[in-house]
């Protein structure tokens, strides 16, 4: 979901860019093995959620830029909806019930 969201927000981006962005925006909380990004990207390529195009990076190197497809956008909405449902449920559990004495 994070990859899809990143691509949705920033447009075409290469793997390194995606990793950087996720790390920065999550304020270094989500710091995983960056490499594990690639199996996920391959999976999404197969699913048809993203497409990759070779281009030139900011420092003039060959890099593959990933772009969200309509199917990917749809998938992102599905995942966000699912995530929101889960977080809402979690919030209800951990928030103190209103009107009840603590």
């Amino acid at each position: 979901m994070l990859i899809l969201k990143t691509l949705a927000r920033l447009g075409p981006l290469h793997g390194y860019g995606i990793a950087q962005y996720i790390q920065q925006t999550s304020e270094d909380v989500l710091q995983v093995e960056e490499g594990s990004l690639y199996p996920a990207l391959q999976r999404m390529l197969i699913k048809g959620w993203i497409v990759g195009e070779w281009g030139v990076s900011e420092n003039n190197r060959r890099a593959r830029f990933y772009r969200l497809t309509p199917a990917g956008e749809k998938q992102l909405h599905i995942e966000i909806a699912g995530f929101e449902r889960v977080t809402r449920a979690l919030m209800r559990v951990i928030e103190p019930a209103s009107g009840q004495p603590a």
Binding site: H14, G15, Y16, A19, E33, E34, G35, S36, Y38, P39, L41, Q42, R43, L45, I46, K47, G48, W54, S57, R61, R62, A63, R64, A71
Partner: protein, 883 residues
């Protein structure tokens, strides 16, 4: 998840990735490389020393090789890759162990091949579905006589069943008739199916050319549909045949269509050349199909939708009882049965197909046990490799899969060889079946059904022989194998190969016993007293175009002429020779003065045949009283008959039957016949039959047109065939030879089914015996090889040749003994199942059982002696220096 469209898209992308996998993998690598460089640069910028930056990046990134592997797994072809890897690995190990591979593949090819050949035999004879619509839905309606034998139905019966049970079943009838057809100057006898109008519509067979006749065909001119084979053979596939009028015998038929290629009628063992509807047949032979006594129809049917076999049975049962009451003269004491076509065929074949398939599966089991033992022995040699792989983190499931792939590669190679073997062997199956019927038309094909069966047998094989070794060898204890250098594994595992060998011996004993019993059956049948002597007699089935005095005159001239030929001892003729087809006819209304019919029996029916003068002396039959027929018994003289012993004893007990009068009903009126002689009983139809009343009338007084010439020769009868043919042509060129055989061949054919069965089962038994002895030899040899050092020590300490061989032989014989004991018990149970096909020998025949056990023991002794001798010749010094 996902619509079909999405899934198809996904599949397309997977295939694309697979096709361009090297490129995709290169791109991935480049991409990851780019990532690492960027990362390293970032670290450098943030002050990490130049040298350490790439390592820091690497650390953050993870193991690139593993990640690449994981990424490519996303393409979804992982399983295929590993499969190919396994297959390649299996191929390598197979090539490395050439001896092992050859033995395993040959064993499997023989085991699977035997199954394929037997399946082809059984399928071509009995179980192949007819090329009609829904062949599994066909049912058979048939009558049974008091002896439980299958009997046909009459056409009026069929009509009544169809009318009264029409809500549950639709029926059609077919009977086989000959049809003479002149092609150039040759007359050939064709097979004609006289069938109900709904024959083709019920079967669901359409014409390939023209049309088929239907129930509603109310044609004035007689019509016929010809078979594809006859169309090609007789008319060279000329399409203008449709609409032409063709003469068959003296009768003209308009050909309205050609049946589709591959449709040969409702029997697998013959080719029908043409079909005519009963309505057309009746134009030439009016009234025959109104006679309830003519019970020659094979009746097929289809159940109405939603009707079960039980319901249909109840309906036909009801009709049968009604008919019994209404027409007691023809329908009393007749059972009626409705079965699926396949069940009917199984019954007709005495369940022989099931027996054969069961026995051949035993052979496959024996072969599997051999290969399993080979694999086990090899896996022990490989235990070090396995140990290493397990300790390197290979999962056990993965190893089991690897083993199964190896087994599958072995089995598939074996199966390919088996198919080649079958393709070669099926060409000999018709020759084998000619023992039963010289004129068989069964087709034995290497078709989809055979391949499917072979495939299933192969798959079963993989599991049977692959499972145990896969399970066993992956259970290897790591620490132990790596320490002991793969030489010894946990003790106790030898029990399993031993059990396998004993099981092989047991199964082989079962097949051997069955083969032995069948062999004894054939011998008994050949030694049975048939009532006639098995002399050199040529038996020629003739079709004579004449009747009345002209026929008698031609016959008499022919017999005189034949008797005059050099090398011919005697000649006679008969309606049917003994054991030739149905053995003649049946007189369905016999009245014997002084004999009262048992209650409920409306008519006395006695089987009979018509014979010429000299018949009894040609066959060497004994005249017990009175005289034989001679040339003074003519159409004009007093009607006479000669009866057999059983008939004399049953109807004239304690009295002289000669000169007594009996009355035979024919053509609506009775006529008196005087008994002039009594002869001994002969087998009429089969070698295995109860003696039954039977009588003979002179051929001149019978009106029967079918003639079978019986020519007794001094030497082998077939050598005289050309001289006899020449004489026939010279006497009358219109006599058509239909089928020629010898008396000896008739006797051999009468035991044909048992003979074929005995041949096939003996072959299977020998194959099983060979495989089992190889199995025993292998296991004992292996055990000897493992104990070389022990043997060396024993010999060094003074053990003699006999001591050592005795030690090994004991081991082999123990296995054989266990196997024989189990096999003996199994055989006792199994042979009871084949009781129906045995003759003159009990299923528990002690001679067979003892002989088979003795043979098995001898073979086991030999199989253990060879390794035992090797063990005794071990050079103690060499053995002790090993390691």
């Amino acid at each position: 998840m996902g619509s079909l469209d999405e899934r198809l898209g996904e599949l397309g992308r997977r295939v694309r990735f697979w096709l361009h996998r090297s490129e995709a993998s290169r791109e991935l690598e480049e991409e990851m490389q780019f990532h690492l460089q960027m990362k390293a640069e970032q670290y450098r910028e943030s002050g990490v020393p130049e040298r350490d930056a790439p390592f820091a990046a690497q650390r953050q990134f993870g193991n690139p090789l593993l990640l690449k592997e994981l990424s490519t797994q996303a393409w979804g072809w992982h399983w295929l890759e590993t499969l190919l890897q396994d297959v390649r690995f299996a191929g390598r190990t197979m090539r490395k162990n050439k001896a092992f591979t050859t033995v395993a593949i040959v064993t499997l090819a023989l085991g699977i091949g035997a199954n394929s050949v037997v399946f082809s035999l059984v399928d071509g004879v009995c179980t192949r579905p007819l090329p009609v619509r829904d062949p599994g839905g066909l049912v058979r309606l048939f009558a049974t006589n008091e002896r439980g034998e299958v009997d046909g139905l009459s056409y009026p019966d069929l009509r009544d069943f169809n009318a009264q049970a029409k809500d549950s079943i639709e029926l059609m009838g077919a009977e086989r008739r000959g049809a003479l057809w002149r092609s150039g100057d040759r007359t050939v006898l064709l097979m004609k199916g006289v069938v109900s109008g709904n024959y083709f519509t019920l079967l669901g067979v359409n014409a390939q050319l023209g049309r088929v006749f239907t129930q509603t065909d109310r044609v004035e001119a007689p019509v016929a549909v010809i078979s594809y084979n006859f169309w090609q053979r007789g008319f060279h596939g000329d399409t203008s045949i449709v609409g032409r009028t063709v003469r068959f015998g003296g009768e003209l038929f308009t050909v309205i269509g050609v049946a589709p290629k591959g449709f040969r009628g409702t029997e697998l063992w013959l080719d029908t050349d043409l079909w005519v509807p009963v309505s057309s047949f009746d134009i030439y032979s009016p009234g025959e199909h109104e006679d309830r006594r003519v019970k020659g129809l094979d009746v097929f049917g289809r159940l109405r939708p939603g009707v079960s076999l039980q319901q249909a049975r109840a309906a036909v049962e009801l009709t049968a009882r009604r008919l019994e009451k209404e027409y007691p003269a023809t329908n009393a004491k007749r059972g009626i049965a409705l079965q699926t076509n396949s069940a009917f065929l199984m019954r007709q074949w005495h369940y022989v197909p099931v027996i054969l398939l069961a026995l051949v599966s035993l052979v496959l089991l024996i072969a599997c046990a051999n290969v399993a033992n080979l694999l086990l022995a090899r896996s022990e040699a490989r235990s070090r490799e396995i140990g290493v792989r397990l300790s390197l983190g290979c999962s056990r499931a993965r190893l089991v899969r690897q083993f199964f792939t190896e087994s599958a590669v072995l089995a598939t190679t074996g199966a390919a060889a088996a198919v080649a073997l079958t393709a070669w062997a099926v060409r000999y199956l018709p020759r084998l079946l000619q023992i039963v019927e010289p004129d068989i038309k069964n087709e034995f094909l290497l078709d989809g059904r055979l391949l499917a069966y072979t495939f299933l047998a192969t798959m079963a094989t993989v599991f049977l022989f692959g499972l145990a070794p896969a399970w066993h060898s992956t259970r290897t204890n790591l620490a132990q194998t790596s320490r002991s250098g793969g030489k010894r594994s946990r003790h106790g595992w030898r029990d399993f190969p031993n059990a396998l060998v004993s099981a092989q011996i047991a199964l082989t004993l079962v097949v051997l016993t069955v083969a032995g019993l069948l062999g004894r059956t054939v011998i008994q049948m050949m030694q049975a007293d048939l009532g006639f002597e098995r002399r050199n007699v040529l038996v020629v089935d003739l079709v004579s175009p004449y009747d009345g005095p002209k026929r008698d005159e031609v016959n008499a001239t022919l017999l005189d002429r034949l008797r005059g030929l050099p090398g011919v001892r005697n000649a006679s003729l008969a309606w049917r020779a003994p054991l030739q087809g149905h053995g003649g006819g049946m007189s369905d209304r016999v009245v014997i003065p002084g004999y009262t019919l048992p209650p409920g029996v409306p008519n006395l029916e006695i089987r009979m045949t018509a014979v010429g003068p000299g018949y009894f002396s040609v066959l060497g039959m004994r005249l017990l009283a009175g005289r034989a027929f001679d040339r003074h018994d003519t159409a004009g003289s007093q009607p006479v008959a000669i009866i057999n012993e059983t008939m004399a004893r049953r109807f004239f007990p304690g009295a002289n039957a000669v000169d007594r009068q009996i009355h035979l009903g024919a053509a609506g009126k009775m006529h008196d016949v005087r008994i002039v002689g009594v002869v001994n009983d002969v087998r009429i139809e089969q070698i295995v039959e109860e003696p039954q009343p039977y009588f003979f009338v002179p051929s001149t007084q019978s009106g029967q047109g079918d003639i079978t010439l019986m020519v007794e020769t001094a030497g082998p009868p077939m050598q005289k065939l050309n001289a006899i043919r020449k004489a026939m042509r010279e006497v009358d060129s219109h006599l058509t030879e239909y089928e020629t055989t010898t008396l000896e061949d008739l006797v051999q054919s009468a035991a044909g089914m048992q003979r074929v069965l005995a041949i096939v089962v003996t072959f299977l038994a020998l194959l099983g015996l060979a495989l089992a002895s190889i199995g025993l030899y292998g296991v004992v040899s292996y055990s000897v090889a493992r104990r070389t050092r022990e043997m060396g020590v024993r010999i060094a300490l003074g053990a003699r040749f006999q001591n050592v061989t005795g030690l090994v032989l004991r081991e082999g014989l123990l296995l054989a003994g266990v196997g024989c004991a189990a096999g003996f018990a199994l055989s006792l149970a199994a042979t009871r199942l084949i009781k129906g096909t045995l003759y003159g020998v009990s299923p528990q025949d002690p001679v067979t059982f003892a002989g088979v056990v003795a043979l098995m023991t001898a073979v086991c002794l030999l199989a253990s002696y060879l390794p035992a001798r090797r063990a005794a010749r071990v050079d103690p010094m060499t053995a002790l220096r090993e390691d």
